[in-house]
């Protein structure tokens, strides 16, 4: 009896384990396949197409669109699906188009999605991830181009492109395509550098020094900090280390994702190869040897840097305007006279202007893009839906939210966020309020209003920073968004990967003194042997194509 019971138990366990394993398999494949059963229904739709006399929105239609995108943490903190937010509900009400939002769950979700035949109507994603880019996706018949339908069904977007021909040129693909609705950050009229040097004004006052403007003044200031007993007068977490002093020498390094490539007199150059680079390295190495730069600069991460800045272990760094708020507000709890302010971009001689500002282009090809897929049965309705955010009311909704709830208009017609946004009663951060009521919590298929950034300033140091850094800010050397061909791209990526590793290593070795500056020529020879010239050539070709477009 006992033996058969035991046998039966073993049998049951075996069967159960088998089923569990098999269901685990099918479970996995189910989450992998997208839930596309709710494709757009094909009930007849009546759409008012004349944008002239009759109001286009709200559309009188029963069509329901499917919209695939990644869920942003600012939204997911409080809502399970984008469709639950007040923003999307308002959007649906105004456009008259019902949309079902589908969110990706894993990193490979986009790749898996592309392998499916029946795609959602609209996909908003970073189309650089598709091998060959969005143009290739068009060639592979996955998504459509807008050229034929945009005049009629996306009039707002079309008008915007006409009003901004320079950016339109960047957005347009070389083949003449307009693919999807891009993310545009500001329209180029307001140019406030997003980051810059920041320094402790209260400590400078103690030393009797003014906010440094030249490289020599920085040297004095940092020495002064050292004498005050500060262990790391200048610090910077792994990404933002050395660029600002290099820019005083007219060199932009590989930091900040520019890859070290920028433009001088219509020619593309690679920063870490320029003659002035050696001068910069001499200065930088001297500063490191004298203890003016954080000894651990290569290993500290963002958290450690922040801690040092807050507790006085460091007195200067490169950071964003928003950081000024965090630094000052948090540190003042323990040290009321703490004052972190923005310093101007340094120059070599007093009176010079540093033209290498930390500015980016309004449009970046690698940013997010909302496209209409070939599987969409109503591309006209999809276009109308996406076009709404390019209209005046749509843009207002996306950037500022709902009138009187999230923004007010003052006597001069300027917009201001309400306390609901800035000091939310439920304690939500500004980002999370945006997640619920606006679309500018992250880049999206609309134009971000640069003025919204100014609205989030709370302390005078931030307004001063914006003023200081926009003075003389120049985009003269910033490379416009370029597109390389597929073969060029492959070659370029391969070369730059190795060049990047080598130049980063060399920078640190020169800085620490492991490599002597007498070997600088060997460094240049090595760079050339890694085919950096070919990479510059490729960028130059792409740049010239752009100028001719």
């Amino acid at each position: 009896m006992k033996k058969t019971l035991l046998k039966a138990a073993c049998f049951t366990i075996a069967i159960v384990t088998l089923f569990v394993t098999l269901t685990a398999c099918t479970e996995g494949s189910k989450t992998g396949s997208t839930t596309l059963s709710t494709a757009s229904s094909t009930t007849s739709a009546t759409v008012t197409t004349t944008a002239g006399n009759e109001p286009v929105y709200p559309l009188k239609t029963d069509v329901k669109l499917t919209y695939w995108s990644e869920m942003n943490p600012n939204v997911s903190a409080n809502y399970k699906n984008s469709g639950d937010t007040p923003f999307t509900q308002e959007l649906a009400k105004r456009t008259g188009i019902q949309v079902e939002y589908i969110h990706s769950t894993t990193d490979e979700a986009f790749a898996l999605l592309m392998a499916v035949n029946e795609l959602p109507d609209i996909i908003e994603y970073w189309w650089d991830a598709y091998p060959g880019g969005a143009a290739k996706a068009v060639a592979d018949e996955k998504i459509i181009i807008l050229n034929e339908i945009m005049e009629e069904y996306a009039p707002n977007y079309t008008k915007w492109l006409k009003d901004h021909p320079e950016i339109a040129r960047q957005i347009r693909w070389d083949e003449g395509y307009y693919i999807g609705f891009p993310a545009v950050n500001g329209d180029g009229t307001i140019n406030i550098p997003f980051m810059g040097p920041e320094i402790r004004k209260d400590l400078l006052d103690k030393l009797g020094l003014a906010v440094p403007e030249t490289v020599d003044e920085w040297y004095n200031a940092l020495n002064g900090f050292k004498d005050l007993g500060i262990a790391a007068p200048y610090t910077g977490s792994k990404g933002y280390r050395t660029d600002f002093i290099a820019r005083a020498y007219g060199i932009s390094l590989g930091d900040m994702g520019t890859g070290g490539m920028y433009v001088v007199d219509k020619k593309v150059v690679y920063g870490p190869m320029q003659p002035a680079y050696k001068d910069f390295l001499t200065t930088w190495r001297k500063w490191y040897a004298e203890g003016l730069i954080d000894k651990d600069i290569a290993t500290v991460d963002a958290n450690l840097t922040k801690a040092k800045i807050l507790d006085g272990g460091a007195a200067s760094t490169i950071a964003y305007i928003s950081n000024l708020q965090t630094y000052n507000n948090t540190a003042r709890e323990k040290l009321p006279e703490y004052k972190m302010v923005a310093a101007p971009m340094p120059v070599l001689k007093k009176g010079d202007v540093n033209k290498l500002s930390y500015l980016s282009n309004p449009y970046t090809p690698s940013d997010v893009l909302a496209v209409i897929t070939k599987s969409c049965k109503h591309p006209d309705i999809a276009a109308r839906f996406l076009d709404y955010l390019w209209s005046e009311e749509g843009n207002l909704l996306a950037n500022w939210g709902t009138k009187d709830k999230t923004f007010t208009v003052d006597a001069d017609g300027k917009h201001h966020y309400t306390d609901f946004v800035l000091k939310n009663p439920d304690g939500w951060s500004i980002g999370k309020v945006k997640g619920g009521y606006m679309r500018n919590y992250a880049s999206g298929p609309f134009v971000q209003d640069a003025l919204t950034g100014l609205e989030t300033f709370q302390i005078p140091e931030q307004f001063e920073a914006a003023d200081l850094w926009s003075k003389n800010a120049s985009k003269e050397h910033v490379l416009p968004p370029l597109r390389r061909t597929a073969e060029e791209d492959e070659e370029y990526t391969k070369i730059m990967e190795e060049v990047k590793v080598y130049s980063e290593e060399a920078l640190l070795k020169f800085m620490f003194g492991t490599m002597s500056l007498d070997d600088y020529d060997k460094y240049i020879v090595q760079l050339k042997s890694l085919k950096i010239d070919r990479a510059v050539e490729i960028m130059q070709a792409a740049y010239e194509r752009y100028l001719k477009k």
Binding site: A111, V501, K509
Partner: protein
């Protein structure tokens, strides 16, 4: 000696004999077969079946075109890897780190097991063992965050160095320290967990052997040397062979978290190199090609190690 003929059963050829035997065994032990079925199914579905995906290492993989649609490019990505400027360096670093790990990290759990085994207080033994397992379960990210914190110029380790009169330095920016930090932290993390198998091997040793040895006048050290160690030799050798079979696989998470351009020279390994290359444009073909190279190289090492072990000791994996 001729084959024993059993009346009633005709042995036509060895295949039918095998099937016969298998059938009989199945009838008798079908519960065991059923129990192992999920495990076998797991290996077939998740390990053998996906192997057909290796072909993307020879193709220009495009997700939209899928496995079948992507064009063949032959050895292009292998070539790209071998011709890479840093190929020699990453290969060397991978091997060096693995070999150092073998030399220092392999004996550590054995030593630990042997030493702890000698402790007579059972409760103490249990506590120490349990505590020693814990670091294994902490994620690499947390461990590396701790290491980073300890190794900065004003961190804990530098405090100790200064206490003994040494000079403070940024430990993780110095090439000379990287391997030590990497391997030492690895030993600390995995010592307890890896010693479990040795503990179980030690527990199977026949106590009578020890009694006999004591009667012959052996002290504790002699007992360990002549009884315990030889008894767990098979376990040690098997694990050694397996370790050699993963010589080229240094995991990239910890490397990426601990390295920086100042230590690329010794820290950049094959996996971190591929991680960076593959991150651009999701270059899966490149990753697959390098992965295949890794696996083949590891397999060759494994077979070699096994063969040598078979000749030298009688212990081997197969």
């Amino acid at each position: 000696m001729s084959r024993t003929v059993v009346p009633g059963i005709v042995h036509k050829n060895s295949l039918s004999a095998f099937v016969n035997k298998a059938g009989k065994d199945f009838k008798k032990n079908w519960v065991l077969y059923l129990m192992i079925l999920p495990v076998v199914a797991y290996y077939i579905i998740f390990h053998y079946w996906p192997m057909y995906g290796i072909q993307i290492g020879f193709k220009d993989f495009n997700i939209a075109k899928g496995y079948m649609g992507s064009p063949w490019v032959g050895l292009k990505y292998f070539q790209q890897f071998f011709e890479s400027f840093y190929f020699g360096r990453v290969l060397r670093n991978t091997l060096m780190i693995s070999i150092y790990e073998l030399i220092f990290g392999f004996p550590a759990p054995i030593l630990f097991a042997l030493l702890l085994n000698e402790v007579k207080n059972r409760r103490f033994k249990k506590y120490v063992q349990t505590i020693s397992y814990m670091p294994h379960f902490i994620s690499a990210v947390v461990i590396c965050g701790i290491i980073l914190n300890f190794c900065v110029s004003d961190g804990l380790i530098n405090d100790v160095i200064a206490l003994f009169g040494g000079e403070r330095s940024s430990l993780l920016q110095d090439m000379k320290n990287f391997r030590t930090i990497f391997i030492a932290s690895g030993i600390w993390q995995n010592l307890g967990f890896n010693s479990i198998i040795y503990f179980s091997a030690i527990s199977t040793v026949d106590q009578e052997l020890y009694q006999a040895a004591i009667m012959d006048g052996a002290n504790r050290f002699r007992q360990v040397w002549h009884i315990t160690l030889p008894s767990i030799k098979p376990t040690i050798v098997i694990l050694l062979i397996l370790s050699i079979g993963s010589l080229l696989s240094v995991g990239f998470e910890k490397i990426i978290l601990l390295y920086n351009p100042a230590t690329y020279e010794v820290a950049d390994v094959i996996s971190s190199h591929v991680y960076r290359m593959g991150l651009q444009k999701l270059n899966w073909s490149y990753g697959a090609a390098v992965g295949l190279f890794n696996s083949v190289a590891n397999l060759i090492l494994l077979i070699l190690a096994n063969r040598i072990s078979r000749k030298v000791s009688e212990v081997s994996l197969w």
